[in-house]
């Protein structure tokens, strides 16, 4: 049985992404268990080869790089063909990808091309004899499944952040390779990448939501909510029905039974008492913070962390503290 591990190192706009190091770190740990090598693959426009050496820092023994102008944007078909070709050629035990936005598209394609299932979005991974075993949250995170793969190779994608990139420096052999087929001939083409966090984050996508209620007392105080959201950087702004009814915010911002139903990683409820209408829209958030002057407010029943106090004082302090925490 093969002992080497293949790691896909994701890049965007000619630079490696943080998840590339996570993939290599995870692959290193597996290779250490099998006594094999970690081979990484990178694809990008010209100049990407110069970045590939960094993967050695995280434990890659060899890096195969393909440079082609058609890899300037994500090129799913050519990339999947390339990774699959490497995987077949090298005889790998495990192929490791990260379930980033790109990885969620790429990983199942690679698995499909290799004729094997994909263990996706794993939070842990280990080898168990000739099997690969990982854990994977199912049923919206309410159940943890332990998944056993007997396919060869085992294709896995890890949840971003599940593995913390750790340095295991060595000098990686850098090889350049030709793409599999003509990457410019891909049927699926990215025509435009809309970069940056320019557009307002949609309530459905935002990992953090800061939401305001009537406890803010006046429309002009809603800027405190916006400032806190801005401090998080990845936050959208929501509101209660009372607030949208009063015209402090547009109706599209309403969170609740009759508005949007959300479950972000973090929900900060500012001056919201927690009427049933509102709770029905945000109760399933992973972590809930409530700031309200009334210690009896129902919102505290669903909150993980609560602060009793005047939102006009607490929120600016929290904004400053979040900025400080993000800064370091």
């Amino acid at each position: 049985m093969a002992n080497n591990i293949l790691a896909f190192a994701e890049s965007r706009g000619g630079d490696l992404r943080k998840v590339a190091y996570e993939a290599v770190t995870a692959a290193r740990a597996l290779a250490d268990a099998t006594g094999g090598e970690v081979h990484a693959v990178v694809a990008g426009p010209s100049g990407i080869t110069a970045k590939a050496g960094a993967l050695g820092t995280y434990g890659a023994d060899a890096v195969t790089v393909v440079e082609h102008p058609a890899f300037a944007d994500y090129n799913p078909e050519a990339l999947a063909a390339f990774v699959a070709e490497r995987a077949k050629g090298g005889g790998y035990r495990v192929v490791v990808l990260i379930a980033s936005a790109q990885g969620k598209d790429l990983a199942p394609r690679v698995a499909g091309k290799l004729g094997v299932p994909l263990a996706s979005d794993l939070t842990t991974i280990r080898l168990d004899g000739d099997k690969v075993v990982g854990t994977h949250p199912v049923n919206t995170g309410k159940v943890i499944a332990t998944v056993t793969l007997t396919a060869n190779p085992a294709v896995v994608s890890l949840r971003p952040g599940a593995v913390t990139a750790a340095e295991k420096p060595r000098t990686a052999r850098i090889e350049t390779a030709a793409p599999a087929g003509d990457p410019a001939a891909s049927r699926v083409k990215v025509t435009q990448t809309i970069a940056g966090n320019t557009a307002k984050l949609d309530l459905g996508d935002a990992p953090v939501i800061v939401s305001g209620g009537r406890g803010l007392k006046a429309a002009e105080n809603f800027k405190l909510v916006e400032e806190l959201a801005a401090a998080f950087g990845n936050a959208a702004v929501g509101a209660t029905r009372a607030v949208t009814d009063d015209g402090w915010r547009p109706h599209s911002d309403q969170i609740g039974q009759t508005g949007r139903q959300v479950s972000p990683n973090l929900y900060v409820a500012v001056g919201i008492s927690g009427a049933i209408q509102h709770l029905a829209g945000m109760r399933t958030s992973k972590t809930i913070v409530a700031i309200n002057k009334d210690p009896e407010a129902p919102i505290f029943k669903v909150a993980d962390y609560g602060i009793v106090g005047d939102v006009l004082e607490v929120v600016p302090a929290l904004t400053a503290a979040v900025k400080a925490a993000k800064g370091h």
Binding site: P76, S100, A101, Q102, K104, D105, A107, P108, R109, A111, G112, V116, P117, L118, S120, D121, V133, H136, V138, N139, T140, K142, V143, I144, A145, T146, V147, T148, T150, A151, R187, V190, T191, Q192, T193, I194, A195, N197, A199, D202, G204, D205, P207, F232, L266, T284, T287, P295, K301, D304, Y305, I307, V308, G309, E313, V314, L318, A321, V322, K326
Partner: protein, 250 residues
């Protein structure tokens, strides 16, 4: 325009799950079942596309036990033309096996478009759609948040971390649908009655070997009970500390 939509029957998630005595699945007692959320978006997207074009056929396909026919009937009640049930005793976790069963059915079906939900909300793999595309050798876009079809060509949008990309692809193609493409319609009683008379074909599913299985299922540790950290500004540092160290969201 002929569109296939692959859908899955899943349990209602807003419950406290229990683990079945076998330890490899959840206890199904008392669970309510429905179409997976994203599959609902896919069915709606397919219906809107054919309605806009004024002609076409939408076929739903599922791999599942007998009870999965309820889910097919729901899709029929929304306005889908016919349904195919690829029968298994229990839905396997192996997404390649499911994709193989679907590809066997869809191969040669003359579909212009094959839609999936971006993932099933129970097993949350998001792999069946793209693997099916590979097996059928069709272009594929996973997790499209917007989808338009015109002149035998599709355009889609995918959300990335802090960015988005627009894609173009020829038909026939496979697309998996993210939230936001189209909010699923609520079936009318008229639709429910009509669905009872629509064709629903049952075939055995061609799964092949299973090479990915669930060895155990467990419940995550209980969420710690909520607590009031204190009063006023003084409690802010403790909140930030907990968000960083305990909740790990900062």
């Amino acid at each position: 325009m002929k569109i296939a939509v692959c859908i899955k029957r899943v349990p209602e998630m807003d419950v406290r799950f229990k683990i079945a005595p076998s330890g490899t699945s959840v206890d199904e007692t008392g669970l309510k079942w429905d179409m997976s959320d994203f599959d609902g978006y896919a069915v709606e997207a397919a219906l809107q596309l054919t309605e806009k074009l004024g002609n076409g056929e939408v076929v739903v396909v599922t791999v599942g036990p007998d009870a999965a026919q309820e889910t097919l009937r729901k899709a029929l009640s929304m306005g889908v033309t016919r349904a195919v049930h690829l029968k298994v005793d229990a839905i396997p976790f192996d997404n390649f096996a499911i994709a193989r069963a679907l590809a066997t059915e869809l191969q040669g079906g003359g579909y212009d478009l094959i839609l999936f939900g971006k993932m099933s909300i129970d097993s949350s793999n998001g792999a069946v759609g793209p693997i099916t595309a590979e097996l059928l050798n069709l272009p594929c876009v996973a997790a499209a948040s917007k989808l338009e079809i015109a002149n035998g060509k599709g355009t889609a949008r995918r959300e990335l971390e802090g960015a988005a990309e627009l894609l173009e692809f020829p038909l026939p193609a496979v697309v998996s649908i993210d939230e936001g493409v189209a909010r699923p319609r609520y079936p009318s009683l008229k639709g429910i009655m009509a669905a009872k008379k629509k064709p629903l074909e049952v075939k055995p599913a061609q799964l092949g070997d299973l090479r990915m299985t669930v060895s155990t299922m467990a419940l995550p540790p209980d969420r710690p009970p909520g607590r009031i950290l204190g009063e006023g500004v003084a409690a802010v540092p403790e909140l930030v500390r907990l968000l960083q160290t305990e909740a790990k969201v900062l």
